[in-house]
């Protein structure tokens, strides 16, 4: 499709974080005028790669070569890359809700005349830019009054105002509904027609299949494959194989589960997004979890896994529309977190820092914090019991800390996660929902967490594990449900299934089923 020289070449990019090689020799070429899709599992290194390209990680922080428009470049910061026409749009939009569309578009590059903002010119140029992205709103509208899809278009208009040559979109449709997504894909094709090259990070294979001219698949920080494709005729299976094709060795402890009676049953669970009206984050979901069983939930980012878990956990997310929860065969009303805990449900959030732990608390206070009644004696917290219990968990879970008096914030990720697990083991729940329990922790600690999960199942608890890492789910679960766009799209036996099947079920969206 192109005869021009490639706009971008990245060669042997290596980016090392303390202890981990996030990028381990990525090489890719982007041809001028292409829509180039980058695929990979969560944590494969896609976003890190884009941060290297856009100067978020400055030159010198990484190894390797970036050749942009025929010249080697060394961006010191994001300003440097923007000056060359490389603009990145992050998944979490960087707009300021209280400012107008026009003010947002020119934020940081304000149009000034004699030291003052040139309002007339700002409005005029904003109107032009909005027309180019097909957004019909008054540029003086505050951004907060726009829908997510429209905000995404404002972001693109902002990129256009910077004379973008290479547009990087990180999961551009993750937060959008189907119409807005289709709209955005159309716009990307339109931009392509005007000679703008795009790099698109996406999990949604059907979207890649619809618009991409080239695909690069990254796994474990390395380029797996990179090849041109014809939009509309993309071999999704080939992408899936390259994304997940890592062998399963014994990183998972051996375990035989003995599933018993049903501990948790969810019927016809419908939850609406708290902000976007009409968007269902849980769309008529039904499932059961048995005692002594490890049930996996597989889904891509934004598919609705966390939303399902949190809406079950005392409706702590979204707007409950319908559905019932049964625990041990009895219907229960879990209208707030306390009633959920009282009924034997526990939820360990994926985001330890902002949702899971109070980092300024000492270990002992954290461990008892979800069940203070358990250490209460005559109206007071029994500090001896607290210490004894905390010490017990420190030893049995092998939390690496000199004492239970030190702050949770000083621990490593793996040990923080163990404290978070201890916090939810102490109330002795019947059903534990673990959201990304091994996120951001090293391999050794992961193994210990897996052991813990299996021990919990052996104690007769139903353990639900939400994870983005398919090998992990296959390695430790008994059964796996797949979720896509708020719907439970499949149920598979973990022992007889493979990653490709899972990935297919996870990316099966309405109308454009990949299977």
């Amino acid at each position: 499709m192109t005869t021009a020289p490639p706009i971008l070449k990245m060669r042997d990019i290596v980016k090392v974080f303390p202890g981990v090689r996030a990028l381990d020799g990525v090489t890719m070429t982007v041809n001028t005028g292409d829509i180039h899709a980058i695929c990979g599992e969560n944590g494969a290194g896609k976003s890190t790669l884009m941060k290297v390209l856009s100067g978020v990680y400055p030159h010198g922080d990484y190894e390797g070569q970036i050749i942009y428009r025929g010249e080697e470049v060394a961006f010191k910061d994001i300003k440097g890359s923007e000056k060359e026409g490389i603009v990145i749009i992050h998944q979490e939009l960087a707009l300021i809700p209280e400012l107008s569309v026009a003010e947002n578009i020119f934020l940081g590059n304000e149009l000034v005349q004699r030291g003052l903002i040139d309002r007339r010119r700002s409005m005029r140029e904003a109107t032009d830019l909005l027309a180019r992205v097909g957004l019909e709103v008054d540029p003086s509208t505050p951004v907060k009054n726009l829908g997510v899809g429209q905000q995404q278009l404002v972001e693109i208009a902002k990129a256009l105002s910077k004379n973008v040559r290479l547009l990087i979109l990180d999961e551009p449709t993750a937060a959008l509904n189907e119409d807005d997504s289709a709209n955005l894909l159309d716009l990307m094709r339109g931009l392509q027609g005007r000679g703008i090259t795009s790099i698109m990070i996406s999990h949604k294979l059907n979207e890649i299949a619809a618009v991409a001219n080239a695909v690069t698949i990254i796994r474990d920080g390395r380029t797996m494959e990179t090849y041109p494709v014809v939009a509309g005729q993309v071999d999704e299976d080939r992408i899936i194989r390259a994304m997940v094709g890592r062998s399963l060795d014994n990183r998972y402890p051996e375990h035989v589960s003995n599933p018993g009676e049903v501990a948790l049953e969810v019927r016809d669970w419908v939850v609406e997004h708290p902000v976007v009206p009409g968007r269902l984050v849980c769309d008529h979901s039904n499932f059961v979890a048995r005692r002594g069983e490890i049930l996996g939930f597989a889904g891509l980012m934004g598919a609705g896994r966390t939303e399902l878990a949190r809406s079950l956990f005392g409706r702590s997310y979204g707007i409950h529309r319908s559905g019932t929860v049964l625990m041990h065969g009895q219907e229960v009303e879990l209208t707030d977190v306390r009633s959920a805990i009282r009924n034997g449900l526990a939820y360990v959030p994926e985001d330890r820092k902002s949702l899971g732990l109070n980092l300024i608390d000492p270990i002992k206070a954290t461990i008892v914090s979800a069940h203070l009644k358990g250490v209460e004696r005559r109206g007071l917290v029994d500090e001896r019991a607290e210490r004894r219990i905390a010490e017990g968990y420190r030893k049995s879970l092998r939390i690496k800390a000199p004492s239970v008096d030190i702050g949770v914030g000083t621990l490593s990720g793996g040990n923080q996660q163990k404290v978070a697990l201890a916090k939810w083991m102490f109330p002795d729940p019947d059903v534990l929902i673990l959201d990304e329990p091994t996120r951001g922790i090293d391999v050794g600690a992961k193994y210990e967490i897996y052991k813990l999960i299996q021990d919990l199942a052996d104690q007769g608890k139903a353990v639900i594990v939400i994870s983005s890492e398919l090998p992990e789910l296959l390695g430790i679960s008994d059964r796996i449900h797949t979720i896509c766009e708020g719907r439970i799209t499949g149920e598979v036996d973990a022992k007889t299934t493979d990653q490709e099947t899972l990935m297919r079920l996870m990316t099966t969206t309405s109308g454009t089923a990949a299977a």
């Binding site: 974080f17 303390p18 202890g19 996030a22 969560n42 944590g43 290194g45 896609k46 976003s47 992050h90 998944q91 990180d170 999961e171 993750a174 937060a175 708290p274 980012m301 966390t306 939303e307 949190r310 702590s316 997310y317 977190v337 805990i341 939820y347 959030p349 994926e350 985001d351 330890r352 820092k353 902002s354 949702l355 899971g356 732990l357 109070n358 980092l359 300024i360 608390d361 000492p362 270990i363 206070a365 009644k373 109206g379 007071l380 917290v381 500090e383 001896r384 008096d405 030190i406 702050g407 914030g409 000083t410 621990l411 490593s412 990720g413 923080q416 951001g440 922790i441 090293d442 983005s468």
Partner: protein, 429 residues
């Protein structure tokens, strides 16, 4: 050096603020030619500052949950005036007026609490409004004139404990009894803590530092008892001081040892995590605000008693003294950190500065400047320490819930930053 560590705990720096207070007292004593540590001066220091310290007890709880209460001065003035008017004009018995005054305070607190917990209006705003409303009401109902209060309230505000028993003790026997009680309770608690630690199987525990600690505590309390008890006949440890000590004990236990106390720190440390642990966040907000105005009412009544009359401008600027005490005591602006005990030390530092500078003949204008710099220096010192990765010094005086020891958090942070994938944005309702 090792002995000092064992006596004062593993971190000697935890006591920096206490040492600073002692140094201030001794320094002023020497500089003023021995007028600082006299019976009458310390008696005045306590009864003249009890109201600010009582406000600071409530304020540290408000600040720990991450808010601030600007209305406390106006609320104290309003309730003090209401009590005075109730007795003077409606002819209510003094004790009924006090009970109604405290109820009025709680009601005002509930008013502030409702705006915060039900509508989520920040405490700063609701109480700024309250500051104006209740100041205006105070002037309004009083008709801009002072209203006298009876002797019983005067007793509460600046009275002394009764004289009784033998004279050979050479001091007020009520004060002596309190001192002996305090020594007994503190010695017992030190020894029983040590015993339970031994019983829990902790090894390497030595009884010697415990004994040294008990002896030290006894010596300090004995000196303080003598200081307060040996004044001119008829004086003792002041009544507002007794009320203050009782409140400090109650609120120390409430914040450090009850489930509600844990919830206060949980909400202040991480609201979202607290909510996901089953804490009713808006209830905590409501009760903390209610309690603050209740204590403001008590402070107002004690002040009126000491002044023998309620004035329309009582309480002007008290909120700032209370807030200063809390932050000198090492509380964090962002919430989650701060203890009642440390706040009392902070408040006493301020009170000592006031008293000492006055004894030295420094004017109120310069005193204000010095206090401002002390506040800034104390907080800057603490923030600097934290930024160096060292444990916060003054936030942890005595307290077990002022936060865990924060060491080098950078290692943990780096590890978590590895996952560069964006997280789906979860909006907690």
């Amino acid at each position: 050096m090792n002995v000092i560590k064992q006596v004062f705990g593993t971190n000697v720096r935890q006591f920096t603020m206490v040492f600073a207070l002692v140094a201030l007292l001794v320094g002023f004593h020497l500089a003023s030619g021995g007028r600082m540590l006299t019976s009458s001066n310390v008696q005045n220091l306590i009864s003249g500052n009890a109201y600010v310290l009582i406000l600071a007890i409530g304020m540290v709880m408000v600040i720990v949950v991450g808010h601030i209460d600007l209305s406390v001065g106006s609320v104290a003035g309003f309730t003090g005036m209401s009590v005075a008017l109730g007795i003077h004009q409606l002819g209510l018995p003094w004790w009924i007026a006090i009970v109604l005054g405290l109820l009025l305070g709680a009601l005002i607190g509930a008013w502030h609490g409702l705006w915060l917990s039900k509508l989520g209006i920040p405490g700063f705003i609701t109480t700024l409004a309250g500051m104006m409303i209740f100041r205006g009401l105070t002037i309004w109902i009083s008709g801009s004139v002072s209203v006298p209060v009876p002797d019983q309230i005067h007793f509460l505000g600046s009275g002394y404990l009764p004289e009784w028993g033998p004279g050979f003790t050479g001091m007020n026997n009520s004060t002596l009894l309190l001192g002996i009680l305090a020594i007994a309770v503190l010695a017992w608690s030190q020894i029983s803590t040590h015993r339970s630690r031994v019983a829990d199987g902790e090894t390497g525990l030595d009884i010697t530092p415990v004994i040294i600690r008990v002896v030290l505590i006894a010596a300090v309390i004995a000196y303080v008892t003598w200081l307060f008890g040996s004044g001119r006949p008829g004086t003792s440890f002041p009544v507002p001081g007794v009320i203050l000590v009782l409140l400090v004990i109650v609120y120390h236990v409430l914040t450090q040892r009850t489930i509600f106390g844990r919830h206060i720190y949980a909400v202040g440390g991480n609201k979202a995590a607290a909510a996901l642990s089953g804490v009713n966040v808006s209830r905590v907000y409501f009760l903390v605000m209610l309690n603050m105005s209740f204590l403001a009412a008590l402070a107002g009544i004690l002040f009126v008693g000491r002044a023998t009359a309620a004035g329309p401008n009582d309480g002007n600027g008290w909120e700032l003294d209370a807030i200063a005490a809390v932050f000198i005591g090492g509380a964090a602006v962002s919430g989650g950190i701060g203890t009642v005990a440390a706040t009392m030390v902070g408040g006493l530092v301020m009170a000592t500065l006031n008293s000492g500078l006055m004894l030295m003949g420094v004017g109120a204008d310069k005193t204000q400047v010095i206090k401002g710099f002390v506040l800034l220096a104390a907080v800057a010192f603490d923030v600097y320490n934290k930024s160096q990765g060292r444990p916060s010094v003054i936030g942890r005086v005595f307290g077990t819930k002022g936060g865990g020891q924060q060491g080098t958090a950078s290692t943990a942070v780096a590890e978590d930053d590895l996952r560069t994938e964006p997280t789906p944005k979860i909006t907690a309702d």
